[in-house]
């Protein structure tokens, strides 16, 4: 069976629920680069224009999680574990200004997982 490319901790699900209560349907885009980079950004559905170079990793309770194709190349052997930490950054991400913000952790796929994913 194919493993999930994205999972979330209970704390991340709580934060997601709180953001949805305020903002409605949301999605995630995993950022790269400096400062607040290498962090998951949470946007209202339709806010962030997805393109041909975005890969859908999966969803967290219906919230789709995307990553850019070049970044997917270096991520594909790991599972994104959506978690939270204390903080208020995130630029235009909907977790901005709350006491908590999303944090990407990772779990390496096992050889069986990789085979199931065709890698």
């Amino acid at each position: 069976m194919k493993p999930d490319r994205v999972t979330a901790t209970p704390a991340a699900l709580d934060l997601l629920a709180a953001i949805r209560a305020d903002h409605g349907p949301v999605m995630f885009h995993q950022s790269g680069g400096c400062c607040d980079g290498s962090a998951p950004m949470c946007y209202a559905v339709g806010e962030f224009k997805l393109g041909t170079q975005d890969i859908l990793l999966g969803d967290v309770e219906g919230a789709e999680v995307y990553i850019s194709a070049p970044q997917f190349e270096v991520w594909k052997h790991s599972q994104l574990v959506l978690d939270v930490t204390k903080g208020r950054g995130g630029m235009f991400s909907l977790d901005s200004g709350r006491a908590l913000r999303f944090l990407s952790r990772a779990k390496l796929f096992t050889p069986d997982d990789l085979r199931a994913l065709g890698l």
């Binding site: 885009h29 995993q30 950022s31 790269g32 680069g33 400096c34 400062c35 607040d36 980079g37 290498s38 962090a39 950004m41 946007y43 806010e47 962030f48 224009k49 850019s68 070049p70 970044q71 270096v74 991520w75 790991s78 930490t85 204390k86 903080g87 208020r88 950054g89 995130g90 630029m91 235009f92 991400s93 909907l94 901005s96 200004g97 913000r101 944090l103 990407s104 952790r105 990772a106 779990k107 390496l108």
Partner: protein, 506 residues
């Protein structure tokens, strides 16, 4: 890692307890009356309250900027240049204060803010003051009595969103060319480091006409986004990460305005075997060049976060490099002699630790460091990471993603072809370092590496008049060079006929 223990009682906050926005030459309370707590990453403790602005405050700042822009755009280059020189003088006269503010706000070592951040910021205003005086339009002779004149004109009102890693220096990198070019600015500092820029604004408030510089604090979502989306800005400049960079471009398309972006890197620092040919001053300099990954706690877009060592010298070079890394003195960044201070926020510290976890899972070997640093006393509630060296290969995530911390990932290469392939196997292209005693090797790699800045036999120098910017996903535009003036100017072409005779078409 060494630790310097200090009692904090002797460090007094350089800040006021509350900062409003700086709009139209005045300090103005946020319309909604809200403030947020600004903490220092040194201890995690609150230092002051900062305006938590929203779209209404951005509109007020844009009102002030638009009111000021016509008169400011008409000032002579001499007048504007002189004002930039005055700003530089005031900053220099208050260098200790501003450096202290920067250290409290960001957590970086006072020796760096005193010796690098502030002197560079001061020099930046002087550089653009000079560029402006020397800038000329052009005149093209189209034919015997037709002439095309090209004039530089300001864009008008521009938006600038500043990162938290060099709060004052990055603000000055963006402000100096924009102001020199005759623009009015609405600037949004990072919410992690909002205070030092307000001290700067206080110091220079009387130099610039009201409304030319406006600083609005608040969160990215609440204040940065309405600025980036505003149809009342003629350009937006941003330093940060890729998803927000894309959103900034997306918003700019809605208003058809230009953007400049600086979005980070994963810079290779390459050490060829001839580095070890002699144990001399140059070898010592090269070892220091390796340890530059720890400058500013690694929170630099050009952090040399991938070290490529020729396999012949790996053991010899790394023995020295590890020793030098372990000699880094951590401690309270406000204390003289401390080399490395705090990461800018808890979330930043946690992200760095999550990458150490990923590196371990991927099989990277920890050569030194590899954990948070416990420094004792009130610093225990600050955000410290041990300078860390990981060994692995270039396909590991710790070699491909920006960690933005004091973490370098080391690998070896066999020959030049191998080194070039590894160096360019990255989605970014901001900085790179090349270390060799052979000028031909240096030149080939300087040209061959796909990055906007290649340091040859030095690293982490940021002088004005050397262009800084990225290839690939590292951004658009070049800062710290007179060419940035072009990014803040329109070109007006006036095509003039000096011939009194008609064409004869109609």
């Amino acid at each position: 890692m060494n630790v310097m223990s200090e009692t904090s009682a002797k460090f007094a906050s350089p800040f006021k307890t509350r900062y409003d926005n700086f709009i139209g030459g005045q300090f103005v309370a946020p319309v909604n009356g809200r403030y947020f707590e600004n903490t220092t990453p040194i201890t995690g403790m609150k230092i002051n309250d900062i305006a938590r602005s929203d779209a209404a405050d951005i509109e007020l700042a844009l009102d002030a900027a638009h009111k000021a822009k016509d008169a400011w755009g008409r000032t002579s280059p001499t007048e504007r240049s002189n004002m930039l020189l005055k700003i530089a003088d005031v900053m220099e006269a208050n260098l200790d204060l501003l450096a202290t503010c920067e250290t409290w706000d960001n957590g970086k070592a006072i020796r760096e803010t005193m010796a690098a951040d502030l002197p560079l910021a001061v020099d930046h205003f002087r550089y653009y003051a000079g560029c402006l005086r020397a800038q000329e339009g052009t005149m093209s002779e189209i034919d015997a009595d037709t002439v095309a004149y090209h004039f530089h004109e300001p864009l008008g009102v521009v938006g600038q969103i500043i990162p938290w890693n060099f709060p004052l220096l990055m603000a000055c990198w963006k402000l100096a060319p924009a102001l020199a070019a005759g623009n009015c600015v609405v600037l949004k500092p990072a919410e992690q480091t909002p205070a030092a820029v307000m001290v700067f604004a206080e110091l220079i408030a009387d130099i610039l006409p009201a409304g030319v510089l406006n600083v609005v604090n608040g969160f990215g979502l609440e204040a940065g986004k309405p600025l980036a989306q505003s149809p009342r800005i003629a350009k937006i400049a941003f330093t940060g990460e890729t998803s927000t960079g894309r959103l900034i471009m997306q918003y700019a398309t809605e208003n058809l305005i230009p953007v400049t972006l600086e979005l980070g890197g994963k810079s290779p620092n390459i050490f060829f075997k001839d580095v070890c040919r002699e144990d001399d001053a140059y070898f010592d300099k090269a070892v220091e060049g390796f340890v530059m990954f720890a400058l500013n706690q690694g929170e630099v877009c050009t952090c040399p976060s991938r070290a490529l060592i020729q396999e012949d010298i790996y053991d010899e070079f790394m023995e020295r490099a590890i020793k030098r890394t372990e000699a880094i003195v951590m401690g309270d960044p406000r204390a003289q002699g401390v080399m490395m201070g705090a990461q800018a926020s808890q979330e930043q510290r946690d992200k760095i630790l999550s990458y150490m976890d990923i590196g371990r899972q991927e099989g990277a070997e920890v050569l030194t460091g590899g954990a948070a640093a416990k420094l004792g006393g009130e610093l225990d509630s600050g955000y410290y990471i041990q300078p860390t060296i990981l060994k692995g290969h270039n396909k590991m995530r710790v070699f491909q993603e920006e960690i933005f911390g004091p973490v370098v990932s080391v690998t070896t290469f066999k020959d030049e072809a191998d080194a070039m392939e590894i160096a360019n196997d990255t989605m970014f292209g901001l900085g790179a370092g090349v270390w060799s005693r052979d000028a031909n090797t240096c030149f080939r790699f300087g040209r061959g590496i796909q990055a906007g800045r290649v340091w040859i036999n030095n690293y982490h120098a940021y002088p004005a008049h050397a262009a800084f910017g990225g290839y690939k996903q590292s951004g658009i535009g070049r800062e710290t060079h007179k060419m940035m003036l072009d990014h803040y100017q329109q070109t007006k072409n006036m095509l003039v006929s000096y011939n009194p005779n008609k064409l004869g078409f109609f």
